[in-house]
């Protein structure tokens, strides 16, 4: 195993158990890969001959396509498996699916699954590298990493930057990955949302809790506005989407009262007029599409590092010399 692979371990399950150095390594490795996507011919040979399965048990557009572009731009051979129309729908267990993939001698699995812990479960049972593309309410590490890269792009650093996650923290894997990654790299993290959607005891994880969006806006440099899943209202966590927007919506009017301009982020897909006002999403301080662009670079970095690529050669890799 090369030093880089050893540096990250076999799998990327989450950011909670990575060190600050490991996270910094991924972000720094993503930098040279940003440029690949800006070329007319967006392809480097770094992962030529590697086979990667994108195993999505839950619907996903952005994340799946982002991973697929990252894989293809690194010249890997990829297969997409969606839960619907696959053996999963016929009742195959996760462990059987895993063993069958292993038997086909694949190199990596990118998995999204509805159960927290599913990525670790898979990683513990197969030799291939496993990258968590979202497991239940646990983590979505590449989203956390691309959020961090975007903040670093716009603020020059993560150290001391005040980031507030807004909305449904309880059910959000994006929130957990943000929380771990940002605190490890020295950012200050807060959460703001209706109390029923905040995990009990979250203060003990070292975050500030705001019950009112106005207070969060006054405090923060960055708002990472999470998607409010419509089923939360049906489950009785909040009375209505209308009221949610009235009480917690990130609106231009509220942002104009902030002492300084805030960077506005959203992992998508957005509910315009629920958690975020359209003028804010489309406004000058929104970096939502930068997040999407950075997503491809971060995922290229993760794939490259887990495949054993050496970080100092990432620059060379993009020109083909890394082979």
């Amino acid at each position: 195993m090369t030093p880089a692979a050893a540096a990250l371990g076999k799998d990327l399950v989450g950011l909670e158990h990575l060190s600050a150095e490991q996270i910094r390594l991924i972000l720094d490795t993503a930098e040279p890969f940003k440029e690949v996507s800006e070329r007319p011919i967006k392809k480097v040979p770094a992962l030529r001959g590697k086979t990667i399965v994108n195993l999505f048990f839950e619907a996903s557009t952005r994340t799946r396509i982002s991973f697929e572009f990252a894989e293809k731009r690194l010249s890997a051979d990829t297969v997409n498996v969606a839960a619907s129309g696959s053996s999963v729908q016929k009742g195959e267990t996760l462990v059987d699916t895993a063993k069958n993939l292993e038997a086909m001698r694949i190199d990596m699995v990118v998995m999204r699954h509805g159960s927290s812990g599913a990525a670790q479960f898979l990683g513990d049972r197969i030799r291939s590298n496993v990258i968590n593309a979202g497991d239940g309410k646990h983590e979505h590490p590449t989203q956390g990493l691309l959020d961090m890269l975007t903040i670093r792009d716009h603020h020059g650093t993560l150290e001391g930057v005040k980031v507030c996650l807004v909305g449904d923290i309880l059910h959000s894997r994006v929130a957990r990955s943000n929380l771990w990654g940002l605190t490890k790299l020295g950012a200050q993290v807060a959460v703001c949302g209706p109390r029923p959607l905040l995990p009990r005891g979250i203060e003990d994880l070292g975050v500030t809790v705001f019950s009112r969006i106005e207070a969060a806006i006054e405090w923060a440099d960055v708002l990472n506005v999470l998607r409010l899943q419509l089923e939360r209202m049906e489950a009785g966590f909040i009375p209505s989407l209308r009221e949610y927007f009235r009480v917690f919506g990130v609106t231009l009017e509220r942002l104009e009262r902030a002492p300084r301009p805030l960077t506005i982020m959203h992992p998508g897909p957005m509910n315009r007029g629920v958690e975020i006002e359209s003028q804010v999403a489309d406004g000058p301080h929104s970096v939502i599409l930068d997040q999407v662009t950075n997503g491809v670079a971060v995922r290229m970095a993760v794939l490259y590092l887990l495949a054993g690529g050496r970080p100092e050669l990432a620059d060379a890799a993009k020109s083909g010399a890394g082979e």
Binding site: S115, F121, D135, R200, G201, L205
Partner: protein, 433 residues
């Protein structure tokens, strides 16, 4: 008729008589006939030198799941009774959440027959509170008691309806049996996979708050007072429940309670890494809860230890945490875990532990046993409390292997188990004949 047995030179601990002394125990015709020093055996006696070992009344477990009928791939009455005697238990009470549910006299009679056929530990059926455990209509308690049921319970699920619980408690007074309740307020617990706390917040698993249990514990104690019935609270897991039970007992309400070895020895951090063998209901709670449970057991606020032995097929637990079933097996580790945690841990003396695993549970469920008084049925556990052993699931007699204690080194193990005067188990540490 089996041959007489003379257990010579053991430390005889009989909490029913406050006895703890080196003595011989003579067993004839299925009964204890003499306890004392220098007892001579009659002709044909089997003499066993049990010097250095503990001779106790057979252990009693008032809460096990034996999966028959319905899930015989996981356990049967016979394999469960085999696991029981291997763990030192001579009597177990089988919960009725079988398939079909044990909710009528024929079903109760079936369990009794399977128990007799196995001829190992005595398996006492617990009948369902409600038909089909659906929580709607009272099951035929009187007929079930007539067929051998020793209690009623809808365990596995709570008795949600306050009216049904009240009615069951009132009606149970005719038969003088406990109504055992699994305390869980279903709307608070819905979809939960582990204790609601910092660990569940980190792992992204839906939590079951302590309040879900405590609300039902409070309700059941209030209804026990209203009805005059005997409520037995299954697998108590929180410090809040302990406070409620303490207050209920102080008011003279007929409430008894059990706690499992796992809730006494593990906390919610065992779920780290999504170990599905740490998934049970009620869930493993916080260290402060564990401390409160130990103290409550010491004080007698919690009356006894019960295993909540819950076998599951290995591939059912080989799943993502939220998809895996609740429960672990416990019959073959209960005494070892309890001894290591409580006696070695300085919470209870050995006689106090044996009281809470034999004499007291027998008494609160009105079972024969829990005593070595001459004339009593010869249900005896010979226990080694000095030699260390390592939990190795492939060696279990249970059909299932779902335990979080694999590899744990314990002291405290049954080496010889006698039920009804017959040797029904000899363990690897058993003394030579």
């Amino acid at each position: 008729m089996s041959r007489p047995i003379l257990l010579k030179g053991g430390r005889v601990i009989d909490p029913s008589r406050n006895a703890d002394a080196v003595a011989d125990v003579l067993i004839e015709d299925g009964k204890v006939t003499a306890v004392g020093s220098g007892i001579g055996g009659p002709d044909g006696v089997i003499e066993r030198d049990v010097t250095g070992l503990v001779v106790a009344p057979g252990l009693v477990d008032v809460h096990v799941h034996l999966r028959e009928p319905g899930n015989e791939d996981e356990e049967t009455v016979a394999t469960g009774a085999r696991a029981a005697v291997a763990g030192g238990f001579t009597a177990v009470c089988a919960m009725p959440n079988t398939d079909p549910v044990t909710d009528n006299q024929a079903a109760v009679g079936f369990i009794v027959r399977q128990s007799v056929r196995a001829g190992l530990a005595r398996v006492y059926p617990i009948g369902a509170v409600s038909v089909g455990q659906r929580g709607e209509k009272l099951a035929e308690m009187g007929e079930m008691v007539g067929a051998g049921a020793v209690a009623v319970s809808d365990d596995g699920r709570p008795v949600v309806s306050g009216h049904l619980m009240r009615t069951a408690l009132e009606y149970s007074r005719t038969f003088d049996i406990p109504v055992a309740d699994h305390c869980e307020e279903p709307t608070l617990a819905a979809g939960g996979a582990m204790h609601e706390g910092l660990v569940s917040a980190r792992l992204g698993l839906k939590g079951i708050p302590a309040a879900a249990e405590e609300i039902m514990v409070a309700r059941d104690i209030i209804l026990a007072e209203l009805s005059g019935g005997h409520v037995h609270l299954c697998h108590v897991s929180t410090r809040g429940s302990v406070d409620l039970i303490r207050r209920g007992k102080a008011r003279g309400i007929r409430v008894t309670a059990e706690v499992t070895p796992h809730h006494l020895s593990l906390d919610h951090s065992a779920c780290e890494g999504y170990d599905t063998n740490a998934k049970m209901n009620p869930p493993l709670r916080e260290p402060a809860d564990v401390d409160a449970l130990r103290e409550a057991l010491r004080e007698g606020v919690i009356d006894c230890i019960a295993s909540d032995h819950a076998p599951h097929a290995y591939d059912e637990k080989e799943a993502a945490f939220d998809q895996a079933p609740f429960g672990i097996i416990g019959l073959e580790t209960a005494f070892g875990i309890a001894h290591a945690t409580l006696v070695a841990g300085g919470v209870l003396s050995l006689p106090e532990l044996i009281a809470r695993m034999s004499t007291i549970p027998a008494k609160i469920f009105h079972l024969p046993g829990g005593t070595l008084r001459p004339g009593a049925p010869a249900d005896v556990s010979v226990l080694d409390v000095t030699k260390a052993w390592t939990v190795d699931p492939p060696q279990f007699h249970s059909k299932s292997r779902n335990t979080p204690y694999t590899g744990r080194t314990l002291t405290g193990r049954a080496v010889l188990t006698i039920a009804g005067g017959r040797v029904v188990h000899e363990g690897p540490l058993a003394p030579a004949r």
